[in-house]
């Protein structure tokens, strides 16, 4: 086993274990840690695939921003973030049907692929600057400047949109369903489910 093989084995293991932890854990904070593990594993694989810049970006954006955001939200929600899986839940059939269907589909696809493929495709040698910050940066700013700028616009819009969706509007006092204060569609009309409930005046904030 060469060093590269060991690296791949470790990274792949990290990825799969992290992914399983993400999906299976009852506690979302554990899920977030699992996601972090997967991300680190993939960053390692990027390194092995001569994509240093992407590996760095992967760590900075995913580990540094996205996972941290998840953790923030989990903290905001507190105990409610936990999956209290009060059985039996709704739409069970659909969920399990989809899950099994997907596993079957990808399994079949992998099987058919392996059957049709007689030889493996080796990875050829690449130039030393392949995937370096310089090379990717040059490519980005010389050939992909328009998509790059569009990506910045997308991020701005996403940030503004996120604020717009998530912010708490200063609310006037108004009638709310008893015992379900705050249950309004985006601070607007009553939730249809609450149409029948008795209404009370909302307490002043």
């Amino acid at each position: 086993m060469s060093a590269g093989s060991i690296l791949f084995a470790v990274a792949a293991l990290l990825c799969i274990v992290g992914a399983l932890a993400t999906v299976l854990s009852k506690n979302p904070i554990r899920g977030a840690i699992g996601l972090l593990t997967t991300i680190v594993g993939i960053a390692l694989l990027f390194l092995k695939l001569a994509a240093e810049f992407l590996a760095a970006i992967q760590l900075i954006v995913y580990a540094g921003a996205v996972v941290v955001l998840f953790v923030f939200v989990i903290m905001l929600l507190g105990p409610d973030a936990g999956s209290k899986e009060t059985p039996p839940g709704k739409a069970r059939f659909s969920r399990w049907f989809s899950a099994f269907g997907l596993v079957a589909l990808s399994g079949t696809a992998l099987y058919l692929l392996s059957r049709g493929q007689q030889t493996l495709t080796p990875l050829p040698a690449v130039t030393p600057d392949h995937g370096s910050t310089e090379a990717v940066g040059g490519l980005l700013f010389n050939h992909a400047i328009v998509p790059f700028e569009l990506a910045t616009a997308l991020l701005i819009v996403a940030v503004v949109g996120a604020i717009a969706v998530a912010r708490t509007k200063p609310r006037r006092r108004r009638a709310v369903p008893e015992g379900h204060e705050g249950r309004r569609l985006f601070g607007g009309p009553l939730h249809p489910r609450d149409a029948e409930r008795p209404l009370v005046k909302e307490p002043a904030e």
Partner: protein, 105 residues
Amino acid sequence: MNALGGFVEHYVLLASVLFTIGAVGFVARRNALVQLMSIELMLNAVNLLLVAYNRAHGEVMTGQLFAFFIIAVAAAEAAVGLAILLAFYRLNASVHSDEADALKH
């Protein structure tokens, strides 16, 4: 070179497994937080595939560029997704996506 990680197919296999785990997690779990994380898993799997194939055809770095933009989109998606999750929680006092059935009523 018969080593692990020396062939594209190894990465394809790993990416498929990761993607399937993510997809199953997305459809089978009810917790919207976990579902969002599953989406991240799937995006990562695709990124891995793109970089691997880019390595196999190493003359250009288009695959890496693609992965770069996917990371940007994923970041935006996570931000907006979590904002929607917060709003949803404020509405329903729950993070269970099967509670999101207002469309039906």
